[in-house]
Subunit: 203 residues, 2 copies
């Protein structure tokens, strides 16, 4: 398809497409004449990934570029590549410290894998510190409740990823992490609301 | 305690405490002389709530104030009050439309309560639209997987709230919603990572 059709089908203005191409975020089309390039489904898929990260989740362009670079040039270890790509998603926490005492204790207690370089470890540390500061319960029993629910969710989420080649697995893992999060959190709030309404109506 | 001690114990500078008092976000201390006011544990609790919302979750001051106003002057219906308070938390989505076709269908399918005024309905709508646009699965079976996990989590979370008087239940529900979210999401990412690592080591 021509760039005008790519624009129409993706909803992205031609000027923005040209910006993405200049920035190396979108591959050039295949030149079919001196003045025309041809774009394909892979360009549409790339634009969906950019839109989900930049527009829906509001990632800064530098983070979107970091993820796209990993899609285009994965590092040697697939788990490391996936970890870095997902690590470019918010929340952004300080990462220049490598002691995560609360997270380390919780991860060991819960039987998960502790890897100080994996961003979610620092995110958990920050989350646990906030609970502690607010005086909320962060006991092993309470954390296990969340961890059990998340393991259950993660097990069904990870199944398709394991079967994919890495260049598909990275965008899928990033999109899946980024886009199911708000859905899951909305469902948690709806479950609270539903329980309160049903308790009132029963009382 | 004196304002200087309140500052020390809360970690909030005296100038900021005075700002909160002027803005009506923190109650005045009890005047014990013309130049001294006495502060108590309730002031510390209020400062913990403000810090969790403003510093940890990064809420704009207008949203923090909205929540504090509901704590101080709840509306008639407790569920409505809780809904408004939790609705002041991010993510902030457009709320001037009252059709939520995707969310409505999902909520009915999942057996939850549909209430167009409850912010999580609009948040779910936006989340489902993003999944659709990215070409990710939002089938009833997939949503049920998240919903089941969230119901399970919510049931144990809601138990203490139901037993509290409203002026305690509001800050508790707001803090609990805001501060367990990042912990739960970090645990989801850690569960993904753990499953990939274990599958690699077993393979």
């Amino acid at each position: 398809m021509k760039i005008s059709e790519l624009s129409e089908r993706s909803g992205v203005p031609v000027a923005t497409l040209k910006f993405y191409i200049r920035e190396g975020m979108l591959p050039r089309g295949e030149a079919v004449s001196a003045t025309r390039a041809e774009y394909g489904e892979e360009h549409l898929a790339r634009l969906r990934l950019i839109a989900a990260l930049a527009d829906v989740r509001g990632l800064p362009l530098s983070r979107v570029r970091e993820i796209l670079n990993l899609v285009d040039a994965p590092v040697d270890d697939p788990i490391e590549t996936l970890g870095r790509a997902v690590g470019a998603l918010p929340p952004y926490v300080e990462r220049d410290r490598d002691d995560h005492p609360r997270a380390r204790a919780a991860i060991e207690e819960l039987g998960l894998t502790y890897d100080a370089g994996f961003t979610a470890v620092a995110q958990l540390e920050e989350g646990l510190r906030a609970l502690e500061h607010a005086g909320l319960d962060a006991s092993p029993e309470t954390l296990r409740r969340y961890s059990d629910a998340m393991r259950q969710v993660a097990a069904s989420e990870i199944a398709p990823v394991a079967a994919m080649p890495l260049d598909e697995a990275i965008p899928y893992a990033v999109l899946g992490t980024a886009l199911y999060e708000p859905v899951m959190l909305a469902l948690r709030r709806l479950a609270h609301h539903d329980l309160l309404v049903k308790a009132r109506d029963a009382g």
